[in-house]
């Protein structure tokens, strides 16, 4: 039981490092993946990492979620959660727009590799 509790605590202190690692995994994918849809996925991964980091910042051992009849002293900081709900909603909207654009890109250029699309775009310029 004690061991489990200890593990739980250490779980939450490593969240910071984990979110940094996830962020840079996303950035790595952004740099090396040549496919447009993978770039969109990479962007979502980066966003998730930031949301994780933000939410974890509000957590304190033994505090309760800020929902229902909880005294203010007992609850975790509710602001990050409120902010991240906003960020998630905007994230969904922007991902949706990006995916719609992806469909158009794929349809107009017949490929979704960044390099090839760019080549065709430069040819258009003449």
């Amino acid at each position: 039981m004690r061991g489990r509790k200890k593990a739980q605590r250490s779980d939450f202190t490593v969240v910071d490092e984990v979110s940094f690692v996830i962020f840079f995994i996303g950035l790595y994918a952004l740099v090396v993946k040549r496919n447009a849809i993978k770039s969109i996925i990479a962007l979502v991964i980066m966003e998730t990492a930031v949301i994780l980091y933000f939410i974890a910042g509000g957590f304190r051992e033994g505090m309760l979620p800020p929902i229902g009849d909880v005294l203010p002293e007992q609850m975790v900081d509710p602001l990050p959660q409120a902010l991240m709900i906003t960020a998630i909603v905007i994230g969904i909207a922007s991902t949706a727009v990006a995916l719609v654009m992806y469909i158009h890109l794929r349809y107009k250029y017949g490929t979704d590799e960044w390099k090839e699309v760019m080549k065709k775009r430069i040819e258009e310029d003449g």
Binding site: L43, L79, I90, A98, Y109
Partner: protein
């Protein structure tokens, strides 16, 4: 005072209503509404100025400033709100009879107006993120409004690079919030003073700087800008809006956020240098382009670099010069884009080699273009000369002064090349002048004259707007006029000699793919992080 959220929300609600109601009087009502906003912004400015309030902060919904949404009015933000409303009014007048301005377009435009005003007024980090993210989506839809092949790529590149920048920004916000527990600019500054070691601010600051540098198109993160601002099919009002106003949002935020961090972490030398690089290479790239809209877009990059230089000279006069240049640039660059839109429509091409004789075919448009060119190159008595004079005044040493003149020489050279479209070396019979709506003609002409007005009354305007009496020494102003004439001559020679050089051809075809932009963002982030770490290693 009229509360700030009215300025943010009414354009958005109005736009949505226009879309839903689909009235036949949509365009008339937009104009009336815009005129109302112009008056409202002047009213607020007058209140601030007459009551001599340094600033007025309002909290949305009655929450405290720590957790609520705060909007701040001070003279600078009030002036930028005036700029936004006036520019939007002109753009709506310009588009009064355009075919593309359907109800969807009007809705997007009005919504964007609300968001831009929101960014000028906002006073906390998270708000910036929200407003920017939404405006990125709207701008990318506006870029690809006609849904043709080229603009899809440009819009997609714009959307993804800018969304990535905003993820960087959000990470900065997250780290800062965890460290300080507040999101408000002023409160954050107070909290930072209590930190035991300011070195912990380096990481969030590096995130912010990367995001803002991409947004302000600082070298090397500028490759999205020309594509987005000069995409062939986008209506010219969209290009004018993006180049004239929307990029100013990020410059504004850049100096707001820098002022929060500045007492603890200084980056001015770093950005003075980057600003110069941007100004120089922006002009070089502008010189190598053939597409007139691309020339204008790259010149925006170059001007943004100049303004960044002015903001980072650690000199009050240079700072106000840069702020004044932001206003001036908004006026003449949108004039140039609007007149370029008319020209490309008439000639059916955007190639600078094929367009000749605009002066004889469309004298009014040519006059507006000339006025704007004189403004942007800094010809004596025009608005650009005054703001550039003040920026140059702040240069601390000879090297900075020289760098500034080299950058301005670049601007002059590429506009000499641009002005070739106005004249016609061979006398061709004049093709019939197109019947253009008088609305478009008069808009560009009025805006062109504004850049003369901004130069003749520069000192009065800066006193009126900012309450700052900026010195003007006639002798050194005359000297700057001499330098202008010398650069003009030099510019002619450069344009003559380079002509069709192979090097320019090579530069013109340089392009960065999305993956390269991601790589550069990572490098820029690491570089600014390293720079700050090394600079503050011994604290």
């Amino acid at each position: 005072m009229i509360p700030g959220h009215v300025f943010v929300l009414t354009p958005i609600i109005f736009g949505v209503l226009l879309f839903l109601l689909n009235s036949t009087y949509a365009k008339q009502s937009v104009l009336a509404f815009q005129l109302g906003l112009v008056f409202a912004s002047f009213y607020n400015f007058a209140k601030l100025r007459l009551l001599e309030l340094p600033l007025s902060i309002e909290c949305f919904g009655g929450w405290s400033r720590v957790i609520g949404i705060a909007l701040k009015w001070d003279l600078v933000s009030a002036v930028f709100v005036i700029l936004t409303t006036i520019l939007f009014f002109f753009l709506f007048v310009f588009d009064y009879r355009s075919g593309h301005a359907n109800r969807l377009f009007l809705m997007l435009f009005c919504t964007l107006q609300g968001l831009i005003i929101g960014i000028f007024l906002t006073h906390d980090f998270f708000n910036v993120f929200v407003l920017y993210e939404v405006s990125t989506i709207i701008v990318s839809i506006l870029i690809m409004f006609q849904k043709d092949k080229q603009s899809i790529y440009d819009g997609m590149l714009y959307l993804l690079t800018n969304l990535t920048a905003m993820v960087f920004f959000l990470f900065g916000v997250a780290i800062l919030y965890r460290m300080l527990g507040v999101l408000d600019f002023a409160l954050a500054k107070d909290q930072m003073a209590l930190l035991s070691s300011t070195r912990s601010l380096i990481l969030p600051y590096a995130f912010f700087l990367t995001a803002l540098s991409l947004k302000t198109a600082i070298l090397p993160l500028f490759s999205w800008l020309p594509r987005a601002h000069a995409t062939p099919s986008a209506p010219s009002t969209v290009s004018a809006l993006l180049s004239g106003l929307f990029v100013k949002n990020s410059l504004y935020l850049f100096f707001r956020i820098r002022n929060v961090f500045d007492p603890f972490l200084g980056i001015t030398e770093f950005f003075l240098f980057l600003g110069w690089l941007t100004a120089f290479f922006g002009a070089l790239l502008a010189l190598s382009q053939k597409d007139i809209k691309l020339i204008l877009a790259y010149s925006t990059v170059s001007q943004l670099g100049l303004i960044t230089m002015g903001l980072n000279m650690d000199h009050e006069l240079a700072f106000w010069g840069a702020v004044y240049h932001i206003l001036n640039h908004a006026v003449f660059k949108s004039t140039l884009f609007l007149s370029a839109g008319i020209i490309t429509e008439t000639y059916g091409t955007r190639d600078i080699e094929k367009i000749r004789g605009v002066g004889r075919r469309m004298p009014l448009v040519a006059a507006a273009t000339i006025l704007a060119i004189l403004g942007i190159t800094g010809a004596p008595f025009f608005s650009g000369s005054m703001s550039k004079y003040w920026i140059a005044y702040g240069a601390k040493d000879a090297l900075t002064t020289l760098a500034f003149f080299v950058a301005n020489f670049g601007t002059i050279t590429c506009f000499i090349r641009y002005s070739a479209i106005l004249f016609d070396p061979q006398i061709h019979p004049i093709p019939p002048s197109p019947l253009l709506p008088t609305m478009q003609h008069s808009t560009v002409l009025v805006m062109g004259f504004l850049s003369l007005f901004g130069g003749l009354f520069a000192r009065e305007l800066t006193i009126f707007f900012f309450g700052k009496q900026l010195p003007l020494d006639p002798l050194s102003y005359l000297q700057k006029g001499g330098i202008f004439l010398a650069s003009l001559l030099g510019g002619f020679l450069v344009v003559r000699t380079i002509g069709q050089s192979k090097v320019l051809e090579r530069i013109r075809t340089l392009d960065l793919s999305f993956n390269d932009v991601g790589m550069l963002m990572f490098l820029f982030f690491s570089l600014s992080f390293l720079y700050l770490t090394v600079k503050y290693a011994f604290l």
